[in-house]
Amino acid sequence: MTAAITTSGLTRRFGEVVAVDGLSLEVRPGEVFGLLGPNGAGKTTTIKMLITLLPPSGGRATVAGFDVASEPRQVRRSIGYVPQLLSADGALTARENLETTGRLYHLPTADRRRRTDEALRFMGLEAAADRLVRTFSGGMIRRLEIAQAMLHRPPVLFLDEPTVGLDPIARRAVWAHVRQLREEEGTTILLTTHYMDEAAELCQRVGIMHLGHLAALGTPESLAAEVGPGASLDDAFTHFTGTELEAEGGTYRDVARTRRTARRLG
């Protein structure tokens, strides 16, 4: 079966800064793939190129078999995206948010209504369906956003730090939904996260990015094992990112560059 996401030599520069530097990667259909890395490692820039929000400076990438540069509309039809920031519109109700999304994906009216109701039920938001989203809790908003991103049943879903700022109960609820999407819909999911427990919990494979490069790639277990017996994914993360920064000297310029990129991306 063809890969759900491929990149080869994918590069993005912002002036002097190379945010993503020749990234080559393959995400298999139906897997949950975690993109890890410190702030400014290039995770969000990578996602933005894959979802057609940012044109690559070099290399190429395909999503669901479509080229991000030459077939952006087909890519957009095939993906769902939950940004790091809030994407549900607080000035509309949950139902209106879903309806608007359904209309922009041109779902037939009957289908749209049915799926909106299903999505509200699936995410446990039925009682709050006609409340303005600005009155929602963080966990409710995230669940609504995932429902919105999945309304058109895209084969590929992008989640950019899906549980940042959520309490442990809301996090677990999001995890349960991610697993359910993979198991029931066979959705390929690419997610970024800063939480190693989240990556270990959800992802079949993870890639650790550092300064625009892929520093490591494998299953959470294999990456931990590479570092040493008894090591965790946390240790692997430090090993593949932290030490390398030391080895490069971790100069003021490096740090400034990383932070500047992080700010730009944040």
Binding site: Q84, L85, T101, L104, Q148
Partner: protein
């Protein structure tokens, strides 16, 4: 890879043809904006205060002074259409800040990764900006009637004014979107908005006729889209009102400006999410 292997979206719904999609997507965006207004109309109501003051205070004083030659119209009749256009301009010119909000929140990104074209997203915003102004127009009509402006209330005149207000406001709302795409931060946007409104307003025929302007200002007034909006509204809103230009020119300028600005804004829109 052959095309057969492509992971097509599994849901098998048919996509409408491109022109239908464009109209549908634009309307979807516009309708969402109008729903937001319906949920919280505070902004519209506060924006209605300014035109009321212009008509009640500024207009009444200048009408008594008889300082401005306005031909066959008395000053209040002359001013009311100008204030209608002005209130549309003032609310439309700050419309772009909403997309900067959406960008900062992340809402904008969701729209930009949907299959809707950038141009339809912008057109929807422009249309919403135009329709918002109709509410303001109603307020101005009520105040104008209260202060004794001789309104032309024939259906044709009302329809004409509505169309002029929607297109003119859509033009300024799109102009505002273009600025928002260029400056991308709220602070810079507010600064530029403030700088632009007064010149646009005073270099138009909103509160005095072009005939009494110094020559350099006449030139500015003639390239100012607001002049054409005021002219069309003045021709239709008040009894015995006559436009200085042919309506075809008034509407032609407004439509052309809107179309060009939508094309530019559609090109710039993705910059907001980069």
């Amino acid at each position: 890879m052959t095309s057969l292997e492509r992971a097509a979206p599994r849901a098998g719904w048919a996509e409408p043809p491109a022109p239908v999609r464009f109209l549908w997507d634009s309307w979807t965006i516009a309708e969402g904006e109008l729903r937001k207004l319906a949920h919280d109309p505070t902004e519209l109501l506060t924006r209605a205060v300014q035109p009321i003051l212009w008509l009640l205070v500024f207009g009444q004083v200048l009408a008594r002074a008889r300082a401005i030659p306005t031909g066959q119209l008395n000053y209040m009749d002359f001013l009311a259409p100008g204030i209608l256009a002005q209130s549309a301009l003032f609310s439309a010119i700050f419309y772009g800040i909403s997309v900067i909000w959406e960008r900062d929140l992340g809402v904008l990104h969701k729209y930009l990764v949907s299959p809707a074209s950038r141009t339809s997203l912008v057109t929807g915003k422009a249309l919403a900006g135009g329709l918002r102004a109709v509410v303001q127009a109603v307020v101005v009509y009520l105040v104008a009637a209260a202060v004794g402006v001789h309104l032309d209330l024939s259906p044709l005149a009302l329809i004409g004014v509505t169309v002029a207000v929607v297109i003119g406001s859509a033009a300024f709302a799109t102009f505002s979107l273009v600025i928002a795409c260029l400056v991308r931060t709220r602070e810079r946007f507010m600064g530029i908005g403030q700088v632009l409104t007064m010149p646009l307003f005073f270099a138009s025929s909103a509160v005095y006729p072009i005939a009494i302007m110094p020559d350099w200002l006449k030139v500015l007034a003639q390239v100012n889209p607001l002049t054409y909006m005021v002219d069309a509204v003045r021709g239709m809103m008040v009894a015995r009102g006559t436009p200085s230009f042919p309506y075809a020119l008034d509407f032609g300028v407004m439509i052309a400006v809107t179309v060009v600005l939508i094309a530019i804004a559609g090109r710039l829109y993705p910059r907001l999410a980069m």
